[in-house]
């Protein structure tokens, strides 16, 4: 099997043309980016506003958890049966599946901002919109990024399945390979999509380190025994303890 897999990869036609590996990788990344960006535009503002006002938080968590039970395959098939073939129906299904982690990340990130910092911002006269954008959103960055990473991986995995309903991308190798029982092709496709997922995850993790503001970027969180982290903790603990007592 290994020899046939190597033969599959070393076939020159695998590396050019619209059905080659590079073209399929680009397609796969394209579908993923499209769906995640649309989902982010919808979910992040809603999650942030709900996290700020704290109204409807339970509903957000409920909806996010409920959507998680949706079977990806069923949603894809249903959208295509109802809306027809083409790029749009599977993309809409991917958007729907990417929304819950993004919504949950934005909501919990904003709602979890240090209440002491939010009170202080209100105390020095910041408007609510300023508090949201300048205090809560920066504090929410790590959780938003975690949501973004999870959503992206979910979409990459589901886009693979979407080959069944006629989408291109790397799932084509697996679905087409299965229909003619061409196992090297299935395995080759599976290998490429697995590597792609891991690479994308690593890139997003790295990106996260660059855009995370404040102490976490400097790695203080990883060394709780460090003096800087200690002073940060002692600075933030009383305010949150106070908050609990009220």
């Amino acid at each position: 099997m290994l020899g046939r897999l190597v033969a599959w990869f070393s076939d020159p036609s695998r590396w050019s043309g619209s059905a080659g590996i590079p073209a399929r990788v680009l397609e796969h990344l394209g579908y993923t980016a499209l769906a995640v960006v649309i989902a982010a535009v919808i979910a992040l503002p809603i999650g942030a506003v709900i996290g700020h006002t704290r109204r409807g938080g339970l509903a957000v968590v409920g909806v996010a958890n409920g959507l998680r039970a949706l079977p990806e395959l069923g949603v894809l098939v249903l959208f295509v049966l109802l809306l027809g073939l083409g790029l749009l129906p599977p993309t809409l299904a991917l958007v729907l599946l990417a929304i819950p982690p993004l919504l949950a990340g934005a909501y919990s990130g904003v709602a979890g901002a240090d209440p002491g910092a939010v009170d202080a911002a209100r105390g020095i006269g910041m408007r609510e919109s300023q508090i949201l954008l300048q205090v809560e959103v920066p504090a929410a960055v790590p959780l938003v990024l975690a949501g973004l990473r999870f959503a992206t991986l979910q979409v990459i995995a589901t886009a693979t399945i979407a080959a069944y309903v006629g989408l291109g991308g790397l799932g084509r190798f697996i679905i087409d390979g299965f229909s003619v029982r061409d196992f090297p092709q299935m395995l080759g496709g599976a290998l490429v999509v697995a590597v792609l997922s891991i690479v994308v995850e690593l890139v997003l993790q790295l990106l996260g380190r660059f855009v995370t503001p404040g102490p976490e970027r400097l790695g203080m969180r990883r060394h709780p025994e460090g003096p800087a982290a200690e002073s940060l903790q002692s600075a933030s603990t009383p305010s949150s303890a106070e908050r609990h007592d009220r």
């Binding site: 395959l73 098939v77 109802l82 693979t160």
Partner: protein, 211 residues
Amino acid sequence: MRAFGYDLDTLVIAHVLLALVPVVLGLLIALPLGWWAHRSPGARRVLVPLSGALYTVPSLALIVFIPVVLGTPILSPVNVGLTLTIYTVALLVRSVAEALDAVPASVTLAALAVGYRPAGLLLGVQLPLAVPVLTAGLRVASVSSFSLVTVGALVGIDSLGTLMTDGFQQDYTAMVVTGIVGSIVLAFIFDALWLALGRALTPWSRARAGV
């Protein structure tokens, strides 16, 4: 019960078995691994990134890898079961380690002081206190297992996903919807079950909430 030319009971039973067994098996594997990661920083440095990487691999790809690695037939349900077991372990190893980390040192020290031995400490004090965090992880693993099991239908493994693929081929929306609704209902039933089990195992948390 028959519908759309299928015996629904058979599909439901296959669906439940193929989603549930991996969750239980995954939990049993993740408990010792998570405990190991909790005890040894070296083990954690290997186990946590490894589980992260495994969790990253798309389900359809993992279902295809397993027959090659293990030599199981491509049409064997074991491929789907093992894929879901791997996801459960990957998700829960970190949950278990973090749940055990979260047990306050004062509690552990007090237990040691009143004479708990290491095994008794783990089973009688640390694990029970870890149940809420563990239940949360288990619920996520269970819900995703009940939805991902349908992907097996793409490589001929029966579950309610079969109604989705065959409904697609026959352009029969009602059949697809039946598959989706059935799969969601099963996911919610077992989610409620884990929640109830978690509560039953931690009677003190209810007592505290009632005060």
